[in-house]
Symmetry: C2
Subunit: 186 residues, 2 copies
């Protein structure tokens, strides 16, 4: 039974985490295409070979980044649903605000998430991670609403993607009627 952890491993895993965060920043700025050992290392402020030491290859670095990203997405959208529910009929307003935020100040992050999403489409080993936030949300909802909830999630994805190619990001007010209609029960 080891009571004292290896200080070296602690620093190593800390640096590993910093590299992942730097990778995410690079993807937000330049896209997945801009991710190389050297750009990530420069962003993280570490030597080039450090990224090859902590990750078997560039592929593993992207996988680890998607894992981290998926975890963030899941907890974030979890709290979004929670807040929207607690506000009752004002839920639509809350959703519209969050969409406008994702397409405005957090636009880079949203692009990064969908790029990793498409990366998962080509690499089966990434799919469970990419699906995680969908699964988390689906498990939160009543089973008799399953179809309505799937439509809701699909609508959110579609609004975000279409909002990404707008010349200027849509405001919460513009999004509001669409979200209202999307949430309106049949």
């Amino acid at each position: 039974m080891r009571r004292q952890v290896d200080g070296r491993k602690l620093r190593g895993e800390k640096r590993r985490g910093e590299i992942i965060e730097a990778t995410l920043r690079v993807i937000e700025r330049d896209g997945v295409a801009g991710v190389t050992h050297r750009t990530v290392a420069k962003e993280a402020g570490v030597p080039t070979t450090s990224t090859t030491y902590h990750f078997a290859g560039l592929n593993d670095l992207l996988i680890a980044t998607l894992m981290e990203c998926a975890r963030d997405m899941a907890t974030e959208v979890y709290w979004m649903i929670d807040r929207a529910r607690s506000r009752g009929s004002r839920g639509a307003e809350e959703v519209a605000n969050l969409l406008a935020e994702a397409l405005g100040p957090r636009r880079g992050r949203t692009m990064a998430e969908y790029e990793l999403y498409l990366l998962a489409a080509r690499r089966p080993e990434l799919r469970t991670a990419a699906r995680r936030w969908l699964d988390v949300l689906t498990s939160m909802v009543r089973h008799d609403d399953e179809v309505a909830f799937r439509v809701f999630l699909a609508g959110i994805d579609g609004l975000l993607i279409q909002g990404l190619i707008d010349d200027e990001p849509p405001t919460a007010e513009e999004l509001r009627p669409v979200v209202d209609y999307l949430l309106k029960p049949r």
Copy 2:
């Protein structure tokens, strides 16, 4: 007034078109990341320098490919709407079938379209081309249904993207209830 076109330019534009088609095939197979002068040239069966002659750079090649792709998408979805309308209440079935087809046999093409979509998010000069099919469809619909139609288009996009990260593509039967709910009037 020139009545006789230059035969050289005709062959040149034909080859230019072949390069664009080859680029689209490369994107379907390996993604935008796999697009280089050399891979495209090999796919098209032309020497490497031919792609740099007909396009000012790799960037222009991707732009031209997105243009072509957007044109195809617009006409394709135009006929989808047309067919769905002519079938009246069976429209939902038609839409579900087309979604299943886009996620099954035409999965590579669907991935390529969304990759180019995200590319447009980063390059403003591509946005009008990427938005073309949205605009074409929006102009087809009655103005009092605008919100409902936007929700419909967003739902289609969301279902396609989510279907791309499924381990096995959803069937038309699985898609059917969701599409039904999506088309159900409020």
